[in-house]
């Protein structure tokens, strides 16, 4: 019986805290969206584009950066995309030749595994810190690109 009381008290605390949190968030001047896939704030001067816009950018010569793991990249990626996994840019400096190629590009479109994937944010943030401009995120990522029937390629090379 005593444990039931304890459990009821604990559940009440959790429910009360959740209610307080939701109310405070709604009253906030900068609320986060609840029960939607979390998207961090975009780094300064980084835009978001959908798959058709990314396709147009590709035709204009944009460079694509694939922020997924090498295995996923190998299985299928956007033709010409460089593989720059988020974990690599977080832990170590970006390889000079890779960075030089990204710097040369007029536009850089970064993508990963769709709206729930945050790897592209991490790569965009790192590239912004390194001073790169004209960065764009494609939140629909590889699944959205593929679903739209856009070109794809496989293997370790762009």
């Amino acid at each position: 019986m005593r444990f039931i009381d304890t459990l009821i008290g604990a559940v009440a605390l959790v429910l009360l805290a959740t209610t307080m949190g939701v109310i405070l968030n709604r009253a906030s001047t900068d609320p986060v969206g609840l029960l939607t896939p979390f998207r961090p704030r975009l780094p300064a001067r980084v835009g978001e584009i959908d798959a058709p816009t990314a396709r147009r950018f590709a035709l204009l010569g944009a460079l694509f950066v694939d922020a997924r793991e090498p295995e996923a990249y190998r299985a299928g990626h956007i033709p010409g995309a460089l593989n720059l996994p988020a974990e690599q840019v977080e832990d170590r400096p970006v390889a000079g030749d890779l960075l030089a190629r990204i710097r040369e590009a007029r536009m850089v479109v970064i993508y990963c595994d769709g709206p729930e994937c945050l790897a592209s944010f991490h790569v965009a943030r790192r590239l912004r810190v390194l001073g790169l401009e004209n960065l764009w995120l494609m939140p629909v990522g590889w699944p959205g690109w593929e679903a739209a029937g856009n070109p794809r390629t496989t293997g370790d090379t762009p």
Binding site: T6, G9, L13, G21, N25, P40, P115, L118
Partner: protein, 147 residues
């Protein structure tokens, strides 16, 4: 007060301070906290923001209740579950080699085995409170005495 009771009251005071501090530090910036939670990659992204707004409030609520000794065993249960879950998430992050902020307090601190150990110590204190009855210097004891 017996030695056991002194230890329990000290545990209550430490947990109260830690939870109040942690909750108040995170309450004002749910965006950063949400990002810290997401970085662990163990929570579905659609639950990240709900956790980011609810967890600081839960920490503050538990810290305040422990400060006055109200619902102490329930708070002990919440503390035990929360800190064990945090320890598990942090151990998994360290194991996977993730170099991420622990999200414990507002200052940047990379997740490590020391954080896991710290949370397990807090979990032990929470378990002790869960198994205790109404303590000295608590609202719980005052309520129990009036029944």
């Amino acid at each position: 007060m017996s030695r056991r009771e002194i230890l329990l009251v000290c545990s209550r005071a430490i947990l109260s301070a830690v939870f109040l501090w942690a909750g108040l530090e995170k309450l004002h910036d749910p965006w950063t906290f949400a990002e810290q939670i997401a970085a662990y990659r163990v929570v579905p992204t659609s639950l990240v923001t709900l956790l980011a707004v609810a967890l600081p409030c839960l920490e503050i609520l538990v810290g305040a209740c422990l400060a006055v000794g109200f619902l102490t065993t329930s708070c002990g249960l919440v503390v035990t579950v929360l800190t064990t879950t945090f320890a598990g998430a942090m151990a998994s992050a360290v194991w996977r080699g993730l170099n991420i902020d622990c999200g414990c307090f507002s200052g940047a601190s990379t997740v490590s085995w020391a954080h896991v150990a710290g949370d397990l110590v807090l979990a032990g204190m929470g378990l002790a409170l869960l198994l205790s009855g109404p303590l000295t210097l608590s609202v719980d004891r005052w309520i129990a005495a009036r029944r």
